[in-house]
């Protein structure tokens, strides 16, 4: 192929693009068509959320189109999914953002096209939304601050009971991804609980929600602080990593480990006595609420700024007794 031919090819491609201006799709029959866009498709938490949303959509006779990114953080890819859904001409979007900041720009186009946006799970940054003029119909999410305070206080009380008066308990905190709202809220909740109980934070690091990274980080923190009494993890996957690290030091059962999300593997760990508590965020209820709220928004109803999903403390005793 000659260079001129190749250049012609590129030019033809560009021309073809401009020539293909599409007609609007004809009106669709039947119920509403709405999109659910989420992240971390392998995380059981989000799978439960998807299931809850699908069941609710079926019950209400709504078509739910679902797309997700496998990673927790691939902003660019999730932005592509938002564009895809708009091109598919969905009537509304429910989104669990991979980035509370980065998702604002792609969502602006939805707003331009008068497609209502329901924000679930990870709250869109208020500041960034205000800067760019994005308005979401409502935020549906668990109260992360409250949940972290609950499970943090539970862990601190266990430690205090074990140590008795006179000795000050020391804990490690494993944070999620800094700057992401739910990670920041959980960190604040943990810190508040530790302070309130009169304990001390011996070390605090981010393990980016990942199990393997949590294992490395915990190992390093334990090496530097051999005398800690507990590890507060911002999600269960990191708690599993912390368990592996604590096990390697032969201190399993002696160090109190708590997580967040109540995933199956965490419940197994509690049954074995390796972990002590977690928070159930009711992801299925969150997905279902998302669908309910989206219909209200489409009907022009004004929704509250925040629609809370109740959080629930699950302890090692609950799991062992088969109560929750």
């Amino acid at each position: 192929m000659k260079p001129s031919t190749s250049l012609a090819l590129i030019a033809a491609f560009a021309v073809a693009l401009t020539g293909c201006q599409g007609e609007p799709a004809p009106g669709t029959s039947g119920g509403r068509r709405i999109a659910l866009i989420y992240k971390a498709t392998t995380n059981p938490f989000f799978q439960a959320m998807e299931k809850g949303a699908r069941e609710k959509a079926k019950e209400l006779g709504v078509t739910l189109e679902v797309a997700g990114i496998p990673s927790e953080t691939d902003v660019d890819r999730q932005a592509n999914l938002v564009r895809n859904m708009l091109n598919r001409q969905v009537e509304a979007i429910i989104i669990a953002p991979a980035s509370s900041v980065g998702i604002v720009t792609p969502l602006l186009r939805a707003q331009e096209q008068k497609v209502p946006i329901i924000n679930i799970d990870n709250r869109i940054s208020k500041q960034e939304a205000a800067n760019q003029g994005l308005k979401v119909a409502t935020f549906i999410g668990p109260d992360n601050l409250e949940g972290a305070k609950k499970v943090g206080a539970y862990a601190c009380n266990l430690i205090k009971k074990k140590l008795g008066a006179g000795q000050k308990g020391r804990v490690l905190i494993l944070r999620g991804i800094d700057g992401v709202e739910n990670a920041e809220a959980r960190r604040a909740g943990f810190e508040a609980a530790v302070k309130e109980a009169g304990l001390e934070v011996a070390g605090s690091e981010s393990a980016h929600w990942h199990t393997d990274e949590a294992q490395r980080v915990t190992s390093a923190l334990l090496a530097a602080n051999p005398d800690v009494h507990g590890v507060l993890c911002a999600n269960d996957k990191m708690a599993l990593g912390a368990i592996a690290a604590v096990k390697a030091r032969g201190k399993i059962g002696q160090i109190i480990i708590v997580g967040y999300d109540n995933i199956d593997l965490a419940r197994q760990a509690m049954k074995r006595g390796n972990m002590h508590g977690t928070i159930e965020q009711n992801p299925a209820m969150m997905g279902a609420l998302g669908v309910e709220c989206v219909l209200k928004a489409l009907d022009g109803e004004t929704l509250p700024e925040v629609t809370p999903v109740p959080v629930e403390l699950i302890t090692i005793d609950d799991v062992k007794a088969g109560a929750k």
Binding site: M1, K2, P3, S6, L7, L9, I10, A14, L17, C20, Q21, G22, E23, P24, A25, P26, T28, G30, R33, T41, T63, E65, V66, A67, G68, I69, P70, S71, T73, D74, V75, D76, A79, N80, L81, R83, N84, L86, N87, R88, Q89, S99, V101, G102, V104, T105, P106, L108, E112, S125, Q127, E128, N131, Q132, I177, D178, G179, V180, S206, H208
Partner: protein
Amino acid sequence: MGDLRSRITLGRALVLVVALGALFVLFTVLSAVDWRTGGLRWPFFLRWDNLVDLVGSCAINLTLGVGMTFVIIGGGIDLSVGRLIALTHVLLVVVANATGSFTVGLAACLGCGLAAGLASGAVSVRWRIPSFIVTLGMMMVARGLAMVAAGGKSVGADIDSPVVIQRFLPIVVSLAVVAVGHVILTSTVFGRHVFAVGGSPEAARLCGIRVGLVRVVTFLASGLCAGLAGLVYWSRNSLGDPLAGDGLELYAIAAVIVGGTSLSGGRGSVIGTFLGALIMGVLQYGLDSMLVQPRWQWVIIGAVVIVTVLVDRLKRTE
């Protein structure tokens, strides 16, 4: 002698164009079916917005792929470009936020790409370390520095990209990179030297070509493309995300290979990479549009990479 090897063979181009066309028709037809009612509708895949988004979604891979083509034809490989996107666009955002000037931010972004390319190329050439190893190290360095520059978390950009820039800058930048890359590779002395160096370094040396210098420049080109891809990333997302670009170097390498460039160097074309990147891009974008789960997307895209190369190989042995 560079001329023969620098031209994508007609057969190869035909395979790629047919594959691209077939994918496009496939997704158009699929998008014309309303799965709820079984009826037909105007295929949304042909909507203007969709086509713009489609090309936009290919922009990063196109941009990286062109730089990668130079490096691979020259006999090297560059594993650092994916993570360099994170570093360069985070620098763009952080520097622009600090100085209030987009131009200064852009200079930092492109400068950083060039510096990383120069460092990889120079170390690899001067001390004869395989570029695979040097750029693997650079990938980790870039990942770490992106976190350092961003302060360990995503940074919002004070200067947001307007919607027009968001949608069209990626397309303009990537097509310009393809055009410029194509002209340099096929119509300049430097381009011929790249082929000579990749084909047989010893012969090139005997012909009086400064082999080391040519190789370093290919890495500079790749670094610059990573900087431009950083610009594209910023324009698409208005965000500094230190975790961006994970694994994109492998996508770029795949696009180059699908495009018919030889991994052992000395043979290849930018047009091939252009078509290869579009095939992978249309495939990924189309699968996303059809709501195919990511787990299946990996399987399908991987299989297509293998099949495209296989078809080419079978045609050649015929």
